[in-house]
Symmetry: C2
Subunit: 339 residues, 2 copies
């Protein structure tokens, strides 16, 4: 089997290049058949690499002289900074010099560059950003979550299909349950978008549509693929983080209330940390932007080495499972039915 | 001062009539100047009342022979069941025989009946359902959260105004900070509704508009009044519940993992329970449906006596602070500016 080639934006994110480079080293040391092109300031990257031992045949440094900052207007940044680590990664994917790319850099620049430079698979109307989120006993794919506000029903249909293929092939969930986010379980509820989309989803025979899902039931794991427009998806993703972090900080406060609780806290500390880690969003690598000619995985700006490693592995699985060809088959084959 | 008269739907909700009647008893025993009309099956209500001691001049039983069930289509139920406890309460508010009403019954029937029977204050386009939600160190008002999907900018403007008045007068927050839910902190982000509404909110000189608020920052308490359309608000409210309850159950599981954690769990049990209670949604009574000729407070279907008591108290404060006249002033006075 040939190795998956992954372009890694080493200059994006709060912990670049140190944690990013470390993530690449962890990935090639743990997994076979992965080849990472480390894109960015060659001097800095080499200095980081010199700290580790690793298979030299699995890593390569590609110099890039510019960096796109988080605050920059995305379109202008993508157009002007041709020699930035981010734009260089994108061109590598476009030209087939890499199968996929990973970046912890600006979300806006990643989304815009993904569309403009890498480009969409024929038949995909709007590529969705689709992170895995933790549920009570597993994970679910939240699709879309940042790319397309004011979506149309035909977009959501495609999200449902791509999401099903992703969960089946990458996460290994057989016949994944697809739900659409709504404000009640009854069919007649919802805003205009959901009301229009619901019957179209019902008609599809190649996904396992289970109907409406209320936000309350998402953390319970009531569906494997959570379909929604990007505005709603973004609210869900960020509230997950927000409620989790406030509850955790309140719990920590509770354990400091008196001597008794301090001792109690010490006794459960380790196990509680593990529980919380299992329910943490950055456990599963970054969010894939699906439906591009290649794959782009956007990780958190605050990514550490472990998230980068997981994202690289996600890219390798994506390539190995030949997901883009599966997307093409489903979307082209079925497109007419929907319209 | 004259007492606030509150009509209580004693037959709505999972724990009717027992917990509902008990809530009324708790309310009149704890607070002065409250008079509750207990509406429903007189025999059952009297049987419940006979369990308690209370001021007989503060409670009155009003017989109603029908009950609206949760599953019934709201419009038909409201029209047909004229002698239901819910519809009777609504007519009492409409006719001025009660200042406000409380119901744990069907959300749909409450929203529809609120509009059709009680009716809107002149100038209010769409009455929002506005629950208080817990934040790190306090509460915030989530407005709207169930009544108006596919809202227009002018609705959101009114939500911002009514929400500010509510937080200032009922919760006692001076100059409450108003934020609009968006997917980023930057002004240019958002869906069509938010982009249109943002500059209109900026122009208002009678609210303290602080701009966009990301869902992540809601639990942190970044704003006092959280403005959004009902679809987004419903997702926020229900995800709050969902994430909280899953985290709590995972924590409980953690404490049962081994002998050490079991002992630790016992030591922090009481304090943890108090912390979680402070972060629970049903701590603050039900959600008011604002902008009606009177007040309707919708409590959870699973309401127990304490939530009913708090809701009754909320109604009394609403009447005492003369909130509806304050709404009228603000909405009529400013309506032209917005259009």
């Amino acid at each position: 089997m040939s190795a998956a080639i992954i372009a890694l934006d080493c200059m994006g994110g709060d912990n670049a290049p140190g944690e990013i480079v470390k993530g690449a080293v962890l990935a090639v040391n743990e997994y076979k058949n992965i080849y990472v092109k480390l894109v960015g300031n060659a001097e800095q990257i080499s200095a980081e690499l010199s700290k580790y031992t690793y298979d030299r045949d699995a890593l390569e440094v590609v110099n890039a002289t510019e960096v796109i900052e988080t605050g920059e207007p995305p379109v202008a940044a993508i157009r002007r900074k041709k020699d930035s680590s981010l734009v260089k990664c994108m061109y590598m994917v476009k030209r087939g010099e890499a199968d996929a790319m990973v970046s912890a850099g600006s979300t806006g620049a990643n989304l815009v560059g993904g569309h403009i430079i890498i480009g969409r698979i024929k038949g995909v109307e709007r590529p969705p950003l689709a992170p895995l989120i933790p549920t009570k006993d597993g994970v679910a794919l939240l699709i879309d979550c940042g790319a397309n506000v004011d979506a149309r029903p035909s977009h959501l249909i495609q999200f449902a299909k791509m999401g099903s293929i992703y969960m089946e092939n990458i996460v290994g969930v057989k016949n994944p349950r697809v739900g659409i986010v709504n404000i009640g379980a009854e069919e007649e509820k919802g805003n205009a978008l959901v009301k229009e989309t619901f019957p179209l989803l019902q008609k599809l025979d190649d996904i396992n549509f289970i109907g409406n899902i209320e936000a309350r039931d998402i953390p319970q794991g009531a569906a494997d693929v959570i379909v929604c427009d990007a505005f709603v998806g973004n609210v869900i993703l960020k509230l997950y983080e927000g409620v989790g972090s406030v509850l955790l900080s309140k719990m920590k406060g509770t354990m400091m209330s008196n001597l008794k609780t301090k001792i109690g806290g010490l006794l459960i500390k380790k196990e509680l940390k593990n529980t919380m880690k299992a329910f943490s969003l950055d456990n599963y690598g970054g969010a894939p932007l699906l439906g591009l000619n290649g794959l782009l995985v956007k990780t958190h700006g605050s990514s550490k080495a472990n998230e980068i490693k997981n994202s690289i592995y996600q890219c390798a699985t994506f390539q190995k499972m030949d997901l883009n060809n599966k997307f093409k088959e489903k979307l082209l084959e079925k497109n007419k039915e929907v319209e």
